[in-house]
Chain length 290, copies 4
């Protein structure tokens, strides 16, 4: 039997870096969890255990920390890009660096005390290879809810359909979104702030006939607000809020009392692309692979 | 061999209620996860399986939903108290109701769109029995960090001690705090807001010689700010931020680059009491039991 | 206002130790996660930040590792006891050491390859003070299910009760159990194996009229099987398996197709004591405190 | 600006089905968590909210339960395939069904009492479209450890490298593996058992010079053992076990006492393919999308 090595990558995952900047007495923070995945001429290590082309994942971790000192960290996109470019050398022909940023807010006007601002995490990734660099931005765990302005009706029915149509329901989701930049430079913080705002406002101000419609509106809103974005990918769980039947207790329930269920949940996923956008190349290669 | 039944309780845990209030077009929300534990004359069900004294946990769940419609939910403390009092009847002689509230913030001035405001959860509990009611408030997952203003030195040493003293370290924690009210009434929302503010400000403005000292300062600050609070209990994990050794790369690291570690972690716990406070009774009985 | 320090404890939590024993080519493992909590003369550190009585939690971590080399680790109860006794010295008047053991099974007859045997974790705790030592054993995440042999009927009803009686249901739970030993010595591995077997067999062979009845039977079975055990504490979530209504699809469902729900869940908790058992002292003091 | 809809899919995720089979008094179980993702002519729902082509995710959930009654569930691969084929009709042109199976073991010879056998989960997926069907099998959370027989040396070094070479280390991982079948039929249970055995034995019996080498050996072993498998994908976190420095305490540590760390971790991922295997088609399309 003949077997062969296919797609492969390796690296250090989830190095948790906190970088403190001290501008006199006034401090600021960046809190980044960084994952690196390298690909290239790695056949020998798989087939024979020859590590000559393998830069240890321990070294990758060291590099994350050293880079945080050698130059300003900046936006997570910039830091990911700087790291990714560094790793592409010798046998390594492609590097992917993914970053999740935890956001901290200053306590009042305190110079060095902070509180974790929200459960949201900002995401950034850079993929670097000889042919150029790709940059993604994104967000995870952005939890949104509308208490009205959402319908679901006119859907297909088969013999297993029991769902009633509704003209008024709660719509809730935890947004995972990633978007691809047309170029590997920009004002990342401003771009992120604008894209995040567009996502939230599109969710809030779209009268929703389906979560798919809301998803498309959210993606399009980012493209409209941010000319530098080529493509938006969204994964939106439908966090079902079921109207509780209070009739056995002689009570009406006009969309006032809900059971927020955990599982199962709808999962609505899609891509909104700008026409004529540049090719993504390896920007969306899966990480982790499984 | 003679065995006997000791402490016992039962109930429905983690009923996730979302209550929407519709004041014309402008909506508001309460998002509560409610757990009930009942105790009383429950020997027969344990020894012989006679359920005559057992109000089903399914009924307890129904009650949470029905109560959310029959009267305003109000603060989580008030809702817990209303439920706890209801369940104490017939063979049930004590009811404990615990509530975690997830906080939502309005999107801009939108009438019915919300975003989950933070990872913090507000806590409330009520314990009701013939002898009266007890109320606890609290907070979980309040993550705080100081980038300076924290020392640790002068500690005990033994033959296994290798830790160096430090005059400047990062201090970070995820606060779990609960406090007991002297009476079962009050302006719960104002009380909570004041206690939360006291905790955060004490953490921020205490120059810390140890996390124990900070803990005590946080508890005392709540007692000073809120005369209605009899006792504060705090559980503070010390989320270690280790200074990364950058010397092998020819770099200094003057408390700028940190590795935020997960485990192990210090765990500092303590109670701060007001002298002369009323007896807690069963307020702190463990839930869950293990 | 006068405030004072109440109950307090501190220590290093979740030190994850893996100890490899090499008996020639044949290896064996103990995989223990160890948490330490110390109490004693700790007023100064809370009130003034004087650390003179504070053995660093870093030292406690070091001690866990050093002890694993200085003498055989043995059963988790024995290791907890050895550590707890060590820490009670000078200002420290009580030490609590809790251990979770992850179980590994040998791959076939391989001398040094192992697979994690199950999701269950074995638990042990020792509490040491001048007055003597207490030892707990236990288990967590032991998931059990009966597909019949469980009823629930004859229960109390009120105006919020809608639950139907049932003579045949699925009963499923994830057992958390801890039991207290009358003395601080014994054959811990044999004792644990016997207690675990008693729990499982009592669950399996008790025709259940309620989960409370099953709980009591499980606790009593441990006391009957193991004379050295003074008391058993159980926390049993009722993992509801709901019969799916297939009537809309023209199908019967005679307890064959179930929806396994996550939340809410019943939570049944209780203590089964041996009459005349010695006083528990601080064995059950809460850890963590909140 | 012109935007357009790209790749999209939707469905019900994590329907948790437990199917009880009653062969007289002797019962058996299948415990499956099923996720469905449908793709096809879904432009209208995204662009205008027209749901005419949208079979509700609620209906998909109902279908999972009804199918579990209408015919034997069988192996998870078979169940996934039966469901996937069902959903491809009308506007739906591709269906992906993923299943995780939780394994239960009978308590002794008990006819209807079970214990959850391990933390491992069996995985299966089917992708159905007009052009045919693809089937994947797999495993998650299979935790393996070797206490020796693993080296790491001869690796690339750069200015950030501090790692020492080692001729003897602990190698531990939590295997996530998925493999693609050449055809959409077979004896799934026998195939799974053989592939799982091959993975474990290759891990155990490969003297490891790197985790990449072990990964390739594991994938190749599956291909050698199971002629019906076309391709194996593996994601192997390197769960670092660090030798604790006990020298400060006057103790040697010859690979006996380890700190099992959580993060960061190495992540080694790769594909092992059979030469001449059929094209995967959409078998590996990402789910979830992000």
């Amino acid at each position: 039997m003949a077997s062969r090595l296919g797609v492969n990558q390796y690296g250090k995952a989830e190095t948790h870096l906190v970088r403190v900047y001290r501008d006199g007495d006034v401090h600021s923070l960046r809190d980044l969890t960084v994952s690196v995945a390298l690909a290239g001429d790695l056949e020998a290590v798989h087939l024979t255990g020859d590590n000559a082309n393998v830069l240890p994942t321990d070294t990758q971790k060291n590099t994350v920390y050293a880079f945080a000192k050698e130059a300003p960290v900046g936006a997570p996109e910039a830091f990911a890009l700087r790291l990714a470019r560094h790793f592409v050398t010798g046998p390594i022909r492609r590097a992917r660096v993914e970053v999740y940023e935890t956001m901290w807010a200053r306590v009042n006007a305190h110079p060095h005390a902070f509180t974790q601002a929200s459960g949201e995490r900002r995401f950034a990734a850079a993929v670097s290879e000889a042919g150029g660099d790709r940059v993604l931005s994104g967000i995870a765990d952005l939890v949104l809810l509308k208490s009205t302005g959402s319908e679901f009706s006119g859907f297909e029915r088969d013999r297993y359909t029991t769902l009633a149509e509704t003209r008024d329901r709660v719509l809730a989701t935890a947004v995972t979104a990633r978007w691809r930049h047309a170029a590997a430079n920009g004002d990342w913080d401003e771009s992120f702030a604008g894209a995040r705002r567009a996502l939230i406002e599109a969710f809030a101000f779209t009268h929703s006939l389906s979560l798919q419609q809301t998803l498309y509106a959210m993606g399009r809103a980012v493209l409209e607000a941010r000319g530098e974005v080529a493509e938006v990918r969204l994964s939106l769980p439908n966090r079902h809020h079921f109207v509780v039947d209070l009739a056995p207790f002689g009570l009406e329930n006009a969309n006032e009392v809900f059971h927020a269920d955990d599982r199962p949940y709808g999962l609505i996923e899609g891509v909104v692309e700008r026409e004529g956008a540049p090719d993504p190349g390896p920007a969306w290669a899966p990480y982790p692979l499984l």
